[in-house]
């Protein structure tokens, strides 16, 4: 399975009808295979940034490269294959009436069909330990199962980069632990947007803090989470009694 680096240079973005820039010159470089946590308060531009990574928001200014591919209309299809997004609400991601059909949706759009498509579906579900859920209706899955299946819908496209928006929100502790274990086994470059700071520490050697549409801190997760002034300035809080230096 391949990994890609990604590079954003001075990306600026304003939502239609608004004056305030959601991204105000956002720059970030991530090496292939790296796992990076994106931290920051609500409304800081994290989701706007990740929506740019597979072209869901059109680039207004600046540049984005996924591996050697520059973000452009001509490359959009390949970029969407390379960058897999797992959305915050798994119900938005699982829109087909059957889990197997949902996992097949992406590869079918890429032209895979017949036996090859069935094989991809089986392989992807097995990767997230959800082969037994193939025939189930997504509505009947638990939160943790939905999250794993949502990941399978992306893995079936053999992405180089995984973008996960709040992957642990709404999960019970066991579901959260299982998801963390699963993510730690996946070799792809991972960009994890989260308010779950212990998750960032457990999964990501590197973290960035986003505030007002720019990167205000970039470093080792342990260092970022130990900087109480930085956390306080950007409305980030560790759980009560959690000490990142003692983990």
């Amino acid at each position: 399975m391949s990994c890609s680096s990604l590079r954003l240079r001075d990306v600026r973005f304003t939502y239609p009808g608004e004056h305030h820039e959601a991204l105000q010159g956002f720059s970030l470089a991530v090496e292939a295979g790296e796992r990076v946590a994106v931290l920051g308060p609500n409304g800081s531009g994290k989701t706007t940034m990740v929506s740019h990574l597979n072209g869901l928001l059109e680039l207004q200014s600046g540049s984005i490269e996924i591996g050697e591919l520059e973000m452009s209309e001509a490359n959009l299809r390949e970029i969407r294959r390379r960058v897999g997004s797992v959305f915050q609400d798994a119900d938005d991601q699982l829109f087909m009436p059957r889990v197997a059909d949902d996992v097949a949706f992406g590869p079918a759009n890429l032209g895979v069909s017949g036996e090859a498509l069935d094989a991809v579906v089986r392989r992807s579900l097995a990767l997230v330990d959800a082969a037994h859920l193939a025939e189930r209706h997504p509505h009947h899955l638990s939160g943790g199962e939905k999250r794993r299946v949502a990941l399978a819908t992306i893995l079936s496209m053999e992405p180089h980069v995984l973008v996960l928006d709040e992957p642990t929100s709404g999960l019970d502790p066991a579901g959260r632990r299982e998801l963390i274990e699963l993510l730690s086994t996946l070799p792809q470059t991972q960009i994890i947007v989260t308010h779950d700071l212990p998750l960032a520490l457990q999964l990501c050697p590197r973290s960035i803090v986003v505030s007002n549409g720019v990167v205000v801190a970039d470093g080792a997760t342990r260092d970022v989470l130990s900087d109480t002034k930085l956390l306080h300035a950007h409305r980030l809080e560790l759980p009560f009694g959690f000490d990142p230096t003692s983990v």
Partner: protein, 256 residues
């Protein structure tokens, strides 16, 4: 597939091992459509033809090992539709007949019979389909029958999000009840109207997010075929038996 999680749209399915359950979904959908069409075309005075149709569909129920009590309960769905037909013998014109001392229009009586017979037979056939075929399989059947994919996609989204919508509505209702909302009069409907509005806006927003999720996975406006046709020839042969009964009944009554 686990059968322990049936609710919402799959709540109609009756899990049994039977030849009817095993038939390919497209075969059942096509056979239902043809059968219902033929029953609808049958002239109303062909009592024998309706009797044959009814017996055929009861036979399929038995073959599918469907509990008759449950089928009868579901048949209650036709009651509001046929209820008005009972007024026809009283308001119909033409020749009059005396039934239990009442002067009734014979044309009206035939109309009542026609509506009731067709509604009950058609609804029973639909109950057989919904009890022996899961909704996702029906959708697969529709796409194998070459129903335009965009139509199948719209139905499948409706099926997928119906449960979610009703759960959301349930949560809203609970939150109203929790704050002592107990509507009894027309002027108390405002919160219900606002919650319907909120539900509409939330559904619209969800629609936008789903579209984004589809785009992110390479959707370009065309729904791709996800499964290949599988119905074997013998399935088509056995499924034509029921519409054949209706066809014989129809032809027989027309020729007479």
């Amino acid at each position: 597939m686990s059968g322990s999680h049936l609710s919402g749209v799959d709540g109609l399915y009756v899990g049994r091992q039977s030849p009817v359950h095993r038939l390919a979904p497209e075969v059942k959908v096509a056979s239902l459509a043809v059968f219902v069409l033929l029953v609808a075309l049958t002239p109303r005075r062909s009592v024998l033809a309706f009797l044959c149709d009814g017996l055929a569909i009861v036979g399929v129920c038995a073959l599918a090992r469907l509990p008759f009590r449950r089928v009868l309960k579901r048949l209650a769905v036709v009651l509001p539709f046929v209820a008005f037909s009972f007024a026809l013998p009283f308001i119909g014109g033409g020749d009059k007949t005396i039934v239990f001392g009442l002067h009734l229009s014979s044309d009206g009586l035939w109309s009542t019979w026609n509506i009731c017979a067709k509604a009950v037979i058609g609804a029973t056939a639909s109950i057989v389909l919904s009890s022996t075929t899961r909704v996702p399989d029906m959708l697969t059947g529709l796409s194998r029958l070459k129903v335009p994919r965009i139509l199948v996609a719209i139905i499948s989204f409706m099926v997928r999000y119906l449960d979610l919508l009703s759960a959301q509505l349930g949560r809203m209702r609970t939150s109203m009840v929790a704050r002592c909302h107990d509507p009894r009069w027309l002027w108390q409907v405002k919160p219900i109207a606002s919650s319907a509005g909120a539900l509409f806006v939330r559904s619209y927003e969800r629609g936008e997010r789903i579209h984004q999720a589809m785009l992110a996975r390479g959707y370009d406006g065309t729904m791709r075929e996800l499964s290949t046709p599988q119905a074997a020839g013998h399935m088509w042969f056995s499924a034509t038996c029921v519409p054949l009964v209706a066809l014989v009944g129809l032809v027989g009554s027309v020729m007479r």
